[in-house]
């Protein structure tokens, strides 16, 4: 896999006429995790929707290996090597867990999922159950596994740890680390600071739709982060 480089420059967008993200820049290279953090309603999810193509960029550019892709339809971005795990409605409720995992594969066999099932045996036990009957945390885990198993160079994860209990959050961290080792890059929206601090290589702290603080993990300590998380 060639060393990927993903960047966004001066991205502006929002819902209807409401401008939620007001010009945000960021970049990551292969094997890096960029954590987007900030208080609720500062535009984190909006940003990730702009990057994944579910909202149109009003201005700015989204660059994948130097090619600007903001025009590419959401459904087409997966084939460019971008995985997206949304925050809300993360799984197909009326599809079985198995179908949720294998939907885009030729076969229904679950061979490549073995490593994931080791860490999340709960899923293996629920294969025939409709996704909708999973608890909130389980849905997030299912969505996370589905996303990582796509084994793509870039993954955009929106609050993967929401409602997930700590032990499993640690499993997520481990799995992300494995993918990083293989050169995958992540953009991660997180509320759970403890988790963010463990996985992030760089931070992008947002407030009111703008970047208020960014940099490598080494450069930024918890105190600085907290100042932006409190009002």
């Amino acid at each position: 896999m060639s060393a990927l480089r993903f960047a966004f420059e001066g991205v502006i967008g929002g819902y209807g006429s409401a401008e939620v993200v007001r010009g945000v820049d960021g970049a990551i290279a292969a094997g890096e995790v960029l954590c987007v953090i900030g208080r609720n309603g500062v535009g984190k999810t909006t940003l990730i929707k702009l990057l994944s193509g579910f909202l149109p960029c009003w201005h700015g550019r989204v660059l994948l290996d130097g090619r600007s892709i903001e025009g590419v339809a959401a459904a087409a971005r997966r084939s460019l090597g971008i995985t997206y795990c949304p925050q809300e409605r993360p799984v197909f409720d009326d599809l079985s867990v198995r179908d949720n995992l294998t939907l885009m594969r030729a076969a229904r066999d679950l061979g490549d999922f073995a490593p994931y099932f080791e860490r999340f045996p709960i899923l293996a036990r629920r294969l025939r159950q409709p996704g909708g009957t999973l608890s909130g945390g389980e849905k997030k885990i299912l969505s996370f596994v589905r996303g990582l198993a796509e084994a793509q160079p870039l993954a955009l994860l929106d609050e993967p740890s929401e409602g997930v209990q700590w032990e499993n959050v640690l499993h997520m961290e481990a799995l992300i680390a494995e993918r990083k080792a293989r050169g995958a890059a992540f953009v991660l929206v997180e509320q759970n600071l403890a988790f963010a601090e463990r996985v992030a290589d760089r931070y992008l702290v947002m407030d009111q739709g703008r970047v208020v603080l960014k940099g490598a993990r080494a450069e930024i300590d918890r105190a600085q982060l907290l100042t932006h998380l409190h009002v």
């Binding site: 994944s52 579910f54 339809a73 959401a74 459904a75 087409a76 971005r77 997966r78 084939s79 995985t83 997206y84 795990c85 949304p86 409605r89 993360p90 799984v91 197909f92 409720d93 009326d94 599809l95 079985s96 179908d99 294998t102 939907l103 885009m104 594969r105 030729a106 409709p130 589905r146």
Partner: protein
């Protein structure tokens, strides 16, 4: 065994299979895609007219099949683009819009073909001996055809992931896109296939009934009952729905008379809808 009894039994089989054949298209459009298409009957009607045209041109009957598939499929594609696509999130509005469409298609057929009752010569006319009973050959063929089609559908559901993807798309369109499903194309394709199959049903029944613009009305409601009774989104649902609705109709019509047959069908449909929430074969 009494040949007449056998004949009535075959009648039941025929009743079931013709119903399944007519509901096939709707099973895709409503059962999978969730579009309440009240113009389904009109697609059947158009298919039937294709068969009539083909006879007029002195082409072989089977030539009607590709023609109907093409015409109804093309029309379906257009309808999906113009009428259905904007309304995916508003099912009841689809109901009204497609009701308007059915009026439109009926009137167009009237304008093009007139109201006259059209009739086709039955291909493979005549009767054959079947288990000691004499039965019209074409009807037997029709039973076979619908069995084959149902089997094909069953297989398709089992093998292909498309059915599952369609359901995924209907259930959660944003996530479907995130997984790289080209939702617009998939939806359009599904509706097109469904419409084409409705046309095929029309071709198949055309030789047995009178072809006129109003014929569709007879089929659309029946088809809906078949699906909701049987259960949406599965070939088994279609089959069992057709078995219940068509079977009961035929059996009671054979044992008593058509009036009771029809009453029983309606009452059964109501009871199933009421007491069997997801139909006989719930999907998922």
């Amino acid at each position: 065994m009494d040949p007449l009894l056998i004949t009535q039994l075959v009648n039941v089989a025929y009743g079931v299979s013709v119903l399944a054949l007519l509901a096939l298209g709707l099973a895709i459009v409503f059962g999978l895609l969730g579009v309440l298409n009240l113009a389904h009957g009109e697609f059947v009607m158009i298919g039937a007219y294709c068969a009539w045209l083909v006879q007029g041109w002195h082409w072989p009957f089977l030539a009607a099949v590709p023609l109907a598939l093409a015409v109804c499929g093309g029309l379906g594609l257009l309808v999906e683009r113009v009428l259905v696509r904007p309304l995916y999130q508003r099912p009841f509005d689809t109901l009204v819009a497609t009701w308007g469409l059915s009026l439109l298609l009926r009137k167009s057929a009237e304008a093009i073909f007139g109201l006259d009752y059209r009739s086709l010569d039955v291909p493979l006319a005549g009767t054959v001996d079947f288990l000691g009973a004499t039965y019209p050959l074409y009807r037997l063929v029709l039973i076979a055809v619908s069995v084959v089609l149902l089997a094909a559908l069953l297989l398709w559901y089992a093998r292909s992931r498309t059915g599952t993807r369609i359901r995924a798309m209907v259930g959660n369109i944003e996530l479907a896109q995130a997984l790289g499903i080209p939702v617009r194309r998939l939806a359009a394709g599904t509706f097109t296939v469904g419409s084409a199959l409705a046309g095929l049903g029309g071709v198949m029944v055309a030789p047995l009934v009178t072809v006129q613009p109003f014929m569709g009305l007879d089929y659309v409601l029946q088809s809906f009952f078949v699906l909701v009774v049987g259960g949406l989104g599965s070939a088994l649902g279609l089959l069992s729905g057709a078995a219940v609705i068509g079977g009961i109709n035929s059996v009671v019509s054979a044992a008593v008379n058509n009036t009771y047959g029809y009453f029983t069908v309606l009452i059964t449909a109501i009871l199933f809808l009421w007491l069997r929430p997801r139909g006989i074969h719930a999907r998922g």
